[in-house]
């Protein structure tokens, strides 16, 4: 999981673009053009992701999750500004990587959508992005205690969890929100090649190679934060997941379909 150089990233995006299924070349080169219709199953999964993250307490009325357009790596899909628990397929909008809506449909966009666009620009490996106020990660973001993996389902944190300080990008007087592309770009730079970055006094961003993996990472980041906080409260030295253990698990992340099946049923009430 070495950090890709900017050039490599651009190349990878270009290659992915060229290989895009159902890609309509002419349209794709016009920034505001749609990358075309998306498999309803992917939209359904994006709706489920919104609801799962709300149900599991990572989202309250805020937080958002996006997925890269499967037909065009320069587009992503994100709900209009709406509480995640209420999102349905009709609320999903398409954005370019500058986070302009392809067709706003008269709806208000999420203010902090730049988080998504700027990460997709520099992380061709990422197909899904989550921004949440995951409750137990916020305390780690305002102290000097690094979030580190203590449990086997959060081994992916072994690469380190950077903390983004908005003051470094926006100066001492921001309103704490990622209101612009430059702020999003700075956050993406702090994330680097990692799966998770904390945002000081705010929450986190979590990315994945697909939507289910991003949801899994977000969920176990919260669980791990709770367990690590409790371990710290117990006192004494802590045995963290080692780099060797983390790397071994990364090679075979395991059976996430099992969790997705459960969460989907819970989230949809059926």
């Amino acid at each position: 999981m070495a950090a890709p150089s900017r050039a490599a990233a651009v190349l990878a995006v270009a290659l992915a673009f060229a290989a895009g299924l159902g890609l309509r070349a002419a349209a794709a080169q016009t920034p505001t053009a749609s990358a075309g219709p998306v498999d309803p199953a992917l939209i359904a999964d994006l709706v489920v992701a919104n609801r799962v993250l709300a149900q599991e307490g990572l989202f309250d009325a805020y937080g958002h999750v996006s997925v890269r357009h499967p037909a065009n790596p320069n587009r992503y899909l994100l709900s209009r500004s709406l509480a995640p628990a209420l999102v349905t397929a009709g609320d999903i909008l398409e954005y370019d990587l500058d986070s302009n809506p392809v067709d706003p449909k008269g709806q208000r966009s999420v203010l902090e959508r730049f988080i998504h666009g700027e990460i997709y620009k520099v992380r061709p490996d990422v197909k899904a992005v989550i921004h949440s106020h995951s409750p137990t990660v916020v305390p780690f973001s305002v102290t000097r205690v690094p979030l580190r993996p203590v449990m086997h389902n959060a081994t992916f944190l072994w690469v380190g969890v950077p903390v983004w300080e908005i003051r470094n990008a926006g100066g001492p007087g921001t309103d704490m929100l990622v209101r612009s592309a430059p702020l999003g770009k700075s956050l993406a730079a702090t994330l680097g090649d990692k799966p998770v970055a904390l945002m000081r006094g705010h929450g986190n961003v979590v990315v994945g190679a697909d939507l289910q993996m991003a949801v899994r990472y977000a969920y176990y980041t919260e669980v791990n934060a709770r367990l690590q906080a409790l371990a710290i409260a117990l006192g004494g030295p802590i045995t963290y997941i080692s780099p060797e253990e983390g790397a071994a698990r990364d090679k075979n992340p395991g059976d996430f379909a099992r969790a997705w099946e459960l969460w989907k049923k819970n989230a949809l009430g059926k």
Copy 2:
């Protein structure tokens, strides 16, 4: 948000009074007269506020939320004494600022209603008042650890959260309840021009420029208390929201309709 002088407050109330929509002058000058019927949508929102605060755990069987009468700044609306989760439109009573019910309708009034009346008297900017036993703020009220903002949705706490000590107003032998206008007046003086004050060994008061803002402030005060407590437990120095950050957010508090829409649906079960 400088503290208005008492004279300025009186002037502001008078001006607001004169400008009141639907104001019936003769009636308004009789203390026990009603300020007239209220838009059912506002009553509905007051019912929702009661239920949201119960559902989110800020109210148990106790706690109360009021709204200033839109037609007369010298009147406010508050449920009769009833568990907030059970409040319906028919339970809302109208009070003057000395907290006398305009028409008690044979119902028992909330004992601590003086909290509301006395704050409305000195805070013409305030249109809604909440008193709760918000669980995680009580520990802050009995220690010397000040409640301070650690997260972006609680930046409004940057102005400071005073703690009201009832012993200073009522002597060492009160039963801890705000049973009288003088106690309410003392609490309002401690609140000053702030959005939130803690009540030692009891809970807090939270005020807002409208009902939704007050609910938002109450909710994120509780959330922030949990996060701050956890950050303290982790140990080491904490990076709090700075005055510059707090002031920047105050200028543009953001999209609260998104939360209200969700909470309303949850609270009303539809």
Copy 3:
């Protein structure tokens, strides 16, 4: 609330006995005789108490609540051995103060019923007894940190919360359960004239002048334990409810009907 001497208690029981409404003298003097039928509303309230305490998390599958028979102070009413959440009116049995069932109806009695009988013997002021594993009081029972009131709805703890050590009564090798009258008697002696006593490594007993008051005391004892634990975690000196404040509240405990109405609706799902 001075501790009654044993002689005074016996006298009080005798007087209460003589004054018992609907008392049938002949029957009452036969230990195994019933004190007669009970108002169904009281039985219904006892069922509600079982369910409320389960719903609020003070009872898991265990815990029990009893009420003194209104017609005979030498009898009490308690569910057969059954998870409190499942108790219905038909499960309530009548016991004498030695905790013998008047009519076992072929059912298994609660093993630790001696807690109830022995407290009723020495506390004529008590009409209801609760034994629970109230989760947050157990840690206080195994440390030297006294449970003390930090919030206004738990002021009744101002008189002190003794901790009963079963080793003092049963020796070092008990199985921790109050299996006999002597163990119950020892616990009642530790309780003395207080409303609450902790049982080391086990839970607590809570008593009240009526069923609703006992439920209120049990509920706010748990709430207070959580708040006190959190205040301790914050660090530094804590301002506890003072004796003057506790005594003032005892004189006018306030409006508990408001909580009972809510809990009853929640517990019965209507």
Copy 4:
């Protein structure tokens, strides 16, 4: 509860095998043969155990519970890989003690099933095995703070709770999962003759003389971990359950039917 020697264990297994009800000798000696149909009531209880442990928060989408085949001690019953909350009777598969499915029915087996098989091999007294990520035990597994009983319903922990370090069995670079029989064998050796062992950075294993007892042990291990953590947070010395008390309770573990009846109703929603 002295640790049986390996020889004694083998002998005991052999004896139990010979005594097996309904044992069909020829079939039993063929490793892949079924031990025959099982009483549907036992399967139903295994389904309930899955759902109870999910509902009580010991299982999230993962975790598993097995029961030894009543007709053949060399077989056990375990759900296919599926979130425990979704398990039904049709999902239960039969395994030999090397954890080979007798008939996989085209389904995927639980990866870590070796935990079960290897424990059944060396613990003839054990009829049920649970592996969970019981949340509050994980912090104890990564610190040097031993999990010890503080409450009467967790007295069974008095014998000590060993912590299994996978690095000792699998080296520094495992992916933390019990993927093989040797890893399961090592875990079983750490468990020894105890009811509970923690797995560092992972969770625990809990065993019982029957399914209901294993569920009880797993539930109260989690409860005890929460109470012990809170007692530690309060500070100062802790009075743990003593060996005498633990041993006394072991002789008469008490009325678990009461909890099972409640949990079954809750788990099945009826």
